[in-house]
């Protein structure tokens, strides 16, 4: 099935599902995302997502069930099991209002941190596969290895090589019980009901058990690389601690727990940026270079011994 045919079919399914939920629909469909790993369309108050082609049903199903079990933390799906659509798994969701990409200053850092703390404190339940954070990082590094060489490739791969095996998805994570989101960024938050309901986490594709500091590691990496202002990082970290999040000690230096995941996310983001820049035939910009520079500095500062905070 071609990508165009999938999009058309997904659009129809979103429309049918939306019309089943309401008697009067102000019809209108928009494509929220159309990438190799996900196609997402919206029709009125309904969103349909076609997951990545290789997504195993046995993994997506318990992830979807977890979202259904945790209202107030994760956006609950409209149907409890994925549907099949021409070789792709499709899930249906209520529409929620995302963070405005034009106004990241309005980012709900406190709400994001509080949701993560509550997620991390929730019993994971049976059948959940491991959180996919390290696997996604490894995938980004593999793609960089397959790309043409660039002077920045070496420091990124060297930094990756200093990480413990679990952070490179080559060994099980040291925590196999804590429920984690696995891919937190500002695109993973919506207000539901739209437009001004409470904030909730979305996207269950990487959800699972693992090291909860991974969910804090993207903002931590942005802060460490000098991209996220200290006050925004502090707001995020303080709110996580105030909500009793278990990923870092309640006070004192959080970096022994954050170090390895933040290094991994820095490497992942640097690898993605470099792969994209190479594909586009353009130089790295200032922000992307700051990630590569951080990777270069990692070589002379070995990872902290404490990869996880003992609970």
């Amino acid at each position: 099935m071609t990508a165009t045919a999938l999009l058309a079919e997904l659009t129809t399914r979103a429309k049918v599902t939306a019309h089943a939920r309401t008697t009067s629909c102000v019809c209108g469909t928009s494509t929220l995302a159309d990438r190799p790993d996900a196609t997402v369309v919206r029709h009125a108050d309904t969103v349909a997502k076609a997951h990545a082609p290789s997504t195993p049903l046995a993994e997506l199903t318990p992830r979807l069930a977890a979202a259904g079990r945790l209202p107030g933390i994760l956006l609950p799906p409209l149907a409890p099991t994925p549907a099949a659509l021409h070789g792709r798994l499709v899930t249906f969701w209520p529409y929620g209002t995302p963070v405005d990409p034009q106004n990241p200053d309005a980012a709900p850092w406190e709400e994001a941190a509080t949701l993560l703390a509550r997620l991390h404190r929730t019993p994971a339940g049976p059948d959940l596969p491991p959180m996919r954070g390290p696997a996604k990082a490894a995938q980004a590094v593999d793609r960089l290895r397959a790309a043409p060489p660039h002077p920045a490739t070496r420091p990124v791969l060297d930094a990756w090589a200093t990480l413990p095996a679990w952070a490179r998805a080559e060994a099980p994570m040291p925590d196999t019980r804590t429920l984690c989101h696995g891919d937190l960024h500002l695109g993973q938050l919506v207000r539901h009901p739209a437009p001004d309901g409470p904030w909730l986490l979305i996207d269950v594709d990487d959800l699972g058990t693992g090291v909860p500091a991974w969910d804090l590691a993207r903002p931590a990496a942005w802060y460490a690389c000098g991209l996220l202002p200290p006050d925004e990082w502090t707001r995020f970290l303080d709110a996580y601690r105030a909500a009793g999040g278990p990923a870092v000690p309640p006070e004192g230096d959080p970096w022994p727990a954050l170090d390895v995941p933040a290094r991994a996310l820095t490497v992942q983001t640097a690898a993605r940026s470099l792969t994209k820049a190479l594909a586009a035939g353009r130089p790295l910009d200032e922000v992307e270079q700051s990630l590569v520079d951080a990777c270069a500095r990692m070589g002379s500062a070995p990872p902290e011994l404490t990869g996880t905070f003992a609970k």
Partner: protein, 98 residues
């Protein structure tokens, strides 16, 4: 009382129990015997109960902890990319990307 320097009239002010004469013309200050010591005493009372002086001026609070491989501005300078008022467009995109 007149200013011994410019002869303009001097006005009396009370600062924490210390009488101070200030000239309305040249703004010079006249202290009676013992008043300088009284002011010095007051000054030390102000500074004593205060906790150790802050590590950095108020306008630049201490940055939160950062790892050894972090950007150099964590050393105390508040330059760096986030010193800009406007976020870099590339970082704006990164905030929303996997």
């Amino acid at each position: 009382m007149q200013c011994p320097k410019c002869h303009a009239p001097m006005h009396t002010y009370n600062r924490n129990g210390v009488q101070i004469e200030q000239c309305s013309g040249c703004r010079g200050i006249f202290l009676d015997y013992g008043e300088l010591e009284a002011l010095t005493r007051l000054e030390s009372q102000w500074s004593q109960p205060a906790p150790p002086p802050p590590a950095a001026p108020q306008a630049y609070p201490a940055a939160p902890a950062a790892p050894a491989w972090g950007a150099p501005q964590h050393g105390g300078h508040h330059g760096g990319h986030y010193g800009h008022h406007q976020r870099h467009k590339s970082f704006g995109h990164m905030l929303f990307s996997s």
